[in-house]
């Protein structure tokens, strides 16, 4: 409602709104515009790629640095599997590369314990220092 009022007010104040039937008198060099905006896209793509590689580097390091599972997980996991919590060790942890854009970043963590070899997704934040959000998808062999 507010937007409609605002548009109405501006339409009244400014006679050169796009809906005005009067066409632009100034000629625009479409070729030049097209090329300039294509260059903008190239800059943006370059920036996105740079950001992506920076992000991947950070997350890879974060995943590699995980030597112990989160304490809360150790408690829950040992209770569920009725195992000694001290037996749970991280065997290796790597960045999970396959993810949907809507899910958090995650490390694929393999643990070895009295429950056997288990794989988990450990969700982490892309912030410094990174935070562990939680573990999910536990699969044990």
């Amino acid at each position: 409602m507010f937007n409609i009022l605002l548009i109405g007010t501006f339409a009244f104040l400014n006679p050169t709104l796009p809906d005005n039937p009067q066409k632009s008198d100034q000629r625009l060099d479409v070729n030049s515009l097209f090329e300039q905006l294509k260059d903008d896209n190239k800059i943006e793509t370059k920036r996105l790629n740079k950001d992506k590689s920076k992000r991947i580097k950070f997350l890879t390091n974060a995943c590699n640095s995980i030597k112990y599972p989160p304490l809360r997980f150790i408690e829950e996991f040992s209770k569920e599997h009725r195992i000694n919590p001290n037996s749970i060790k991280v065997q290796y942890s790597v960045l999970k590369t396959e993810r949907s854009t809507k899910t958090p970043f995650a490390c694929s963590v393999t643990t070895v314990s009295d429950a056997g070899l288990c794989k988990h997704d450990l969700q982490i934040t892309y912030s410094s220092p990174f935070k562990i959000l939680g573990l999910s998808n536990v699969q044990c062999k």
């Binding site: 796009p18 632009s24 070729n31 260059d39 896209n41």
Partner: protein, 236 residues
């Protein structure tokens, strides 16, 4: 006598409140204008130029480009069912502007400091954080066979976030605006579907263009609001 006095008093009270309200309104408006002027100074001067240039570019496109509306097989099927309805809400729509053998689309994006918008090689970011700009994005030039080939994604009826630079959301399109042929591929390009160029006069697609025009106008006139924008000086 008493009644006449009462009436006069009420009348005077009414008139004085009216004139007070008027002067108060003017004072408020004056102070607001002062604030706006101060606010405008907080932005880099280039921002006002860029903002004006974006608006003028859109105005030129709106005034001079041929507009085409593209939708997918599902939405086209829904349209057929509701033939004649002008209120069809598109879950997938692409408004394409054709100018001198080139096509453009609209893309709405925020201007964050770590992810600024780029306009003619100038990078710009704004505060408050939710400040968005709608920019024309070049898609493709017509080839010898009359086709425009490009990758993009649909937008919803009133949202123009086509995000042409995020690879996961890009789909290949091949369209011929002369004879109406339209094909879209899946991500990865293994499957091909027909898309449809639709007539806005018998659908609600034209409403989406009106919304785009309103958003562009609002975006431009927001320079008078609390938007403060800076130009990123060091680009690499």
């Amino acid at each position: 006598m008493f009644n006449a006095n009462k009436v006069v008093l009420i009348l005077l009270a009414f008139l004085s409140s009216f004139s007070f309200a008027q002067s108060s309104d003017l004072r408020t408006k004056y102070l607001e204008n002062q604030k706006i002027e101060e606010q405008k100074k907080l932005s880099d001067p280039e921002y006002h130029e860029i903002n004006k240039d974006i608006y003028n570019t859109w105005k030129y496109i709106f005034d001079n480009a041929e507009v085409y509306y593209i939708t997918d097989e599902y939405n086209h099927g829904q349209l057929k069912k509701k033939y004649g309805s002008s209120t069809h809400g598109f879950s997938k729509l692409l408004i394409v502007f054709q100018l001198e053998g080139k096509i453009f689309i609209a893309n709405e994006k925020p201007a964050y400091k770590n992810n600024p918008i780029i306009w003619k090689q100038q990078e710009m970011f704004c505060r408050p954080l939710d400040q968005k700009f709608i920019l024309p994005v070049p898609l493709s030039e017509v080839d010898d066979s009359g086709f425009y080939k490009f990758k993009t994604s649909y937008h919803r009826q009133s949202e123009f976030k086509t995000e042409p630079l995020i690879p996961q959301s890009l789909y290949p399109f091949e369209i011929n605006l002369e004879d109406g042929q339209c094909y879209e591929g899946s991500y990865g390009g293994n499957d091909v579907y027909k898309c449809h160029i639709i007539d806005p006069n018998i659908t609600g697609a034209g409403d989406s263009l009106k919304q785009l025009k309103s958003k562009v106008s609002l975006s431009f006139f927001n320079k008078y609001s609390k938007r403060v924008c800076k130009i990123k000086k060091n680009t690499d």
